[in-house]
């Protein structure tokens, strides 16, 4: 009885141990991915900074603010949401936080009598919204682990056409911002209409710039790129956050496995001890019964029975010489 329990425990400890090995490996992989994702975000920054400063210069120079991406669509009554999640789980509350935030925003839009349109990025978002019975207008997967610029271009294209045609009233972006490797925050950001950077009108046009073709012409070219670049930095942020969350979740899992292993070994040792005690009791009891029958003291323990016969497995022997009890 007791031996059976011990075997079961030993099997569980083994399985916890191998789970621990897996979570430890995932933790280490995630840790290197976080660093990589941060590097990528850092090397993407010059482009987005520069593109923003060019737009500021153009607006200062009096470029027409009539681009379809800048104006409101007063007749449209559909709010679009781009939701960026991961493809894989095992990353703690990372996906739940983003999805909850997005869903609350969708509910708010519906409560105001607006239509909604979901653009799901990442398998988790696709599955979640499908399960909730919400209509998904565009879905993207296989890009959030290590996003490339082409991914941003694809998503931007899906949104841009519909906004420019006046179908969408607004586009919001729901993703996880990477603040530091310890802190990530799910945020909901207005994506379209584009908010033009604040311009100090009093400053007037900055140093007479030459433009080719015209400020408005360049602005029309640059705004779609700006859209893509903002989406790209959101994707990079989300991917860094995903790996950081996964690293944390897997670290916790590894520690839990360690704790579980300790407590299971304790239970197992106790069970082993119990079974040894029971066996001793049985032998002693049996011997006493026999001595009560025969009444002779030297037959208390049969002469042919040595300790290794009584405890073949459990006796932790330090010396291997046969005992002459």
């Amino acid at each position: 009885m007791a031996g059976g329990q011990e075997r079961i425990l030993r099997r569980r400890i083994k399985s916890v141990e191998s789970t621990k090995k897996i979570t430890r490996a995932m933790e280490l992989i995630a840790a290197t991915r976080v660093v990589k994702a941060q590097d990528r975000a850092a090397s993407a920054r010059p482009y987005s900074d520069e593109i923003t400063s060019v737009i500021v210069d153009l607006l200062r120079a009096g470029a027409a603010k009539e681009h379809p991406l800048l104006r409101d669509n007063p007749t449209a009554n559909v709010a679009a949401f781009v939701v960026i999640t991961s493809d894989r789980g095992m990353c703690g509350g990372y996906n739940t936080n983003v999805l909850r935030m997005a869903e609350r925003a969708i509910d708010a839009a519906r409560a105001q009598g607006q239509g909604y349109s979901v653009i799901a990025v990442g398998k988790k978002a696709i599955k979640h919204f499908r399960f909730r019975g919400l209509q998904i207008d565009a879905e993207f997967e296989g890009m959030t682990d290590q996003p490339i610029y082409d991914n941003a271009r694809d998503i931007a294209a899906a949104v841009r056409r519909r906004y420019e045609s006046g179908e969408l009233a607004s586009v919001d972006l729901s993703y996880t911002r990477f603040l530091s490797s310890g802190v990530q925050q799910a945020v909901l950001r207005r994506f379209l209409p584009l908010e033009t950077p604040a311009i100090d009108e009093a400053a007037g046009p900055s140093a007479d710039l030459e433009y080719e073709p015209s400020p408005t012409g360049i602005l029309n070219e640059i705004l779609p790129r700006y859209l893509e670049s903002r989406l790209f930095s959101a994707l990079l942020d989300a991917s860094a956050s995903e790996h950081a969350s996964r690293q944390r979740a897997m670290k916790a899992a590894t520690e839990n496995a360690e704790d579980l292993k300790t407590s299971l070994s304790r239970i197992m040792n106790r069970a082993r001890q119990d079974s040894i005690t029971t066996e001793i009791m049985e032998i002693v009891g049996g011997a006493e019964a026999m001595s009560a029958d025969k009444g002779s003291a030297h037959e208390l323990i049969p002469s042919h029975l040595e300790p290794q016969h009584a405890f073949p497995v459990h006796l932790d022997r330090t010396d291997h010489a046969p005992s002459i009890h």
Binding site: S43, E212, I218, E221, R225
Partner: protein, 131 residues
């Protein structure tokens, strides 16, 4: 005083260094070259080659497929969402793409084929293998 040139793609900075001259082609505006002391300038780039004459001699060429150039205070910033330095261009592939695009243009000049032709030509010009 040399020009501080940066060639930036959305994913990384492709080139950063000092140059004596930068030559680029703007949309509909033809080629334009920048020397130190050029007036502030912002332009939209055509699908073409950008040539950067390095301060320490030699030159760096890159094929840019659209993008922007900003010049001010002797700093030149070239932003392009698709840019390739000549050293990273696959000549064989570019040549094949050019032949294919040329055939497509001759069959019927749709915008895609013309753009593909311009792209492959820009790549080949960047590696100076264009005839």
């Amino acid at each position: 005083m040399p020009l501080a040139v940066e060639l930036v793609s959305p994913e990384r900075t492709l080139f950063s260094g000092d140059a004596t001259m930068v030559r680029a082609r703007t949309v509909g505006g033809g080629d334009i070259a920048f020397l130190a002391g050029h007036a502030p300038f912002v332009g939209a780039l055509a699908i073409a080659t950008v040539e950067i004459t390095l301060a320490e001699g030699g030159s760096e060429k890159a094929a840019v497929h659209g993008g922007f150039i900003e010049v001010s205070h002797d700093r030149v910033k070239i932003l392009s969402d698709l840019a390739e330095l000549s050293s990273t261009i696959d000549v064989e592939r570019a040549r094949k793409a050019q032949e294919k695009a040329q055939a497509a243009v001759q069959n019927g000049d749709d915008a895609d084929a013309i753009a593909a032709l311009a792209r492959s030509t820009a790549r080949l010009v960047a590696v100076e293998q264009f005839h």
